[in-house]
Amino acid sequence: MASLDRVKVLVLGDSGVGKSSLVHLLCQNQVLGNPSWTVGCSVDVRVHDYKEGTPEEKTYYIELWDVGGSVGSASSVKSTRAVFYNSVNGIIFVHDLTNKKSSQNLRRWSLEALNRDLVPTGVLVTNGDYDQEQFADNQIPLLVIGTKLDQIHETKRHEVLTRTAFLAEDFNPEEINLDCTNPRYLAAGSSNAVKLSRFFDKIPGFPDRKRFGAGTLKSLHYD
């Protein structure tokens, strides 16, 4: 049983992409029956076996913080949300495969969440421009999940799945595409499940599980 410090993973994305369904699926292995709007932040806990199958296996509690809202919210809502971005160990970006704008907005989400650590006063001073330099030092592992795969017709799948390619240049994240109403996408042994546990394993691997800038290692790949 883990009695270590908390492992906190943010789940970010636009309104209505399916973050709450996803978190419910990840933590309770059941499909969420009645999704409704998330006001503020809802948290759920996933029990994760670090390095499963090896002698160093440990059990962790991973907290998934599902923050509601959209990128275009009023600045008062953004300031309130910022309180959840403290000491984050990993981020899951969620976008809707049927909605192009939601994947474009992932950039702004990453700005909002990652820049929080750069400015100690807590006031967002960026002018919204996307500066690749800022993320060169990023050590927080990222995962991109595309939802509502079942609503995309077979023929359009290829075009849709390459939409998030732009994120790969800057972050090199892992990517999963699935349908939150169907638990078989994350069934044990499937490639999605493997990617997911690889992502979760990256997090406790840091020597120093504080905010970015405190660690010295830059390993982004789990080996």
Binding site: C27, V39, A74, T80, V83, K100
Partner: protein, 466 residues
């Protein structure tokens, strides 16, 4: 020949308005969403275009531009098209989109949307019965029938919104109502919020671990369902699942608390921003305006009450009355006709511009507040519907919303300009609309005063609680 020229002018302006509506739709309303159904955008822009054309026709009427018969023709045509869109197309599409969102009825979308539309038409028709708005001379499908019903709906909506706006506007702008918010308040609330989240997390950890051990031991941890399940749960003590349900209830309560704390914190941040804004020049200017506005709103409420109590309907418009007063009491001689034309033009122009701006801003705010990618289509169509109701109905000096009333604007215009409106619309009972507007306006204003008073009182009490 002149008819052709006039028509081409009208059509050019319509295309311009259409383009403007299209741009507004793309840039503002649907900034964050993908437009999948272009039909919606087209309908919205068309409605916007025709509505603006109606305003344009009023202005032309006052200025005396264009041939009078071509004006008449265009006026009638515009009205027909808008009514067509409003009563036939938009409700049908709203029904269609609502039905396509429901998974069960997906297969027979068309059928169900037709059914929905027929229900809407039935209620729409029934709407006209209790109101004394028709003269029995005209047939079933005449313009008067449709306009009178649309008129009732629109005037009600408009009066409701005006009443609320009349009270809300000074409340928002005047800094007298701003509560004092310090940084320590915000920090304290944030700390409470994070503490609540921590409590939720620790409880959920217990639940997750309990579920895992139960799963490993092979117990079924579903909630007991059905009759036999209930009997069973009485005798056998499934202590694991009992614990879980208890903890789940505690977690639900804590989550509700966390939501409230979040909303309160957001509210405090918003108030703090307003306080900072009020210290700037712009803020002070709006604060000043707010005082004027509040006086104006009080006067309007007062006038509405008087109109109802003394059963009085305004006979002359404010412009002519004002000019009469100046001529009679101040002894200044000037050409009444000349000035009344220009002044009413300016007045109506101001009303139109502020209404356009006000409506677009309100549309945007409203849309952001309630939209999500699923329902955005329906909402835009609803907005188009509301907007066109407003167009065919009146707006008053308050000028916050677009509602061009052929019905009430008639009251603001001097006699000689009323002819075209009266001609086209026949014998609608205008006085009824005036009275109805006053009643609804009064009701709405009073209830929003009550509502805002309660909300204002509640908020500082919440903060005092430890």
């Amino acid at each position: 020949m002149s008819f052709l020229i006039d028509s081409s002018i009208m059509i050019t302006s319509q295309i311009l308005f259409f383009g403007f509506g299209w741009l507004f739709f793309m840039r503002q309303l649907f900034k964050d969403y993908e437009i999948r159904q272009y039909v919606v955008q087209v309908i919205f822009s068309v409605t916007f275009a025709f509505s603006c054309t109606m305003f344009e026709l009023i202005i032309f009427e006052i200025l005396g531009v264009l041939n009078s018969s071509s004006r008449y023709f265009h006026w009638k045509m515009n009205l027909c098209v808008i009514l067509l869109i409003l009563v036939f197309m938009v409700p049908f599409y709203i029904g269609y989109f609502i039905v396509s969102n429901i998974r069960l009825l997906h297969k027979q979308r068309l059928l169900f949307s037709c059914l929905l539309w027929l229900t809407f038409m039935y209620f729409f028709w029934k709407l006209g019965d209790p109101f004394p708005i028709l003269s029995p001379k005209h047939g079933i499908l005449s313009i008067e029938q449709l306009i009178s019903r649309v008129g009732v709906i629109g005037v009600t909506l408009m009066a409701l919104l005006s009443g609320f706006g009349a009270v809300n506007c000074p409340y928002t702008y005047m800094s007298y109502f701003l509560r004092n918010v310090t940084d320590t308040d915000i920090l304290a609330l944030e700390r409470r919020l994070l503490q609540t989240m921590d409590m939720i997390i620790s409880k959920k950890k217990r639940m997750a671990m309990a579920r895992r051990t139960m799963f490993q031991k092979g117990e079924v941890h579903n909630k007991p369902s059905g009759f036999w399940g209930m009997i069973k749960s009485v005798t056998t003590s499934a202590s694991g699942s009992e614990n879980l349900t208890l903890i789940q209830q505690e977690v639900d309560a804590l989550e509700e608390l966390s939501r409230q704390l979040f909303l309160e914190t957001a509210d405090l941040y918003a108030t703090k921003e307003r306080i900072e804004y009020s210290k700037t020049f712009k803020g002070k200017y709006f604060n000043f305006l707010g005082y004027f506005f509040s006086i104006y709103c009080v006067w309007k409420i007062f006038m509405a009450t008087i109109n109802i109590v003394f059963d009085r309907v305004g006979k002359t418009d404010p412009v002519t009355r004002g000019i009469e007063i100046t001529v009679n009491y101040l002894g200044i001689q000037f050409d009444v006709k000349f000035w009344s034309q220009h002044i009413s033009f300016i007045l109506v122009g101001i009303i139109i511009v502020t209404s356009i701006r006000g409506l677009l801003i309100t549309l945007t705010k409203f849309f952001y507040a309630i939209s999500s990618s699923k329902s955005s289509n329906v909402i835009v169509l609803l907005l188009a519907q509301i907007m066109s109701h407003f167009w065919i109905n009146s707006f008053d000096l308050q000028g916050m919303y677009f509602v061009s009333s052929v019905l009430l604007i008639r009251m603001s215009m001097p006699l000689e300009y009323r002819t075209i409106i009266t001609e086209v619309l026949g014998e609608l009972q205008f006085n009824f609309y005036h009275r109805w507007f006053d009643v609804i306006f009064l009701v709405s204003a009073l209830s929003s005063i009550l509502f805002l008073y309660l909300a204002h009182k509640q908020a500082p009490e919440k903060q005092m609680a430890p």
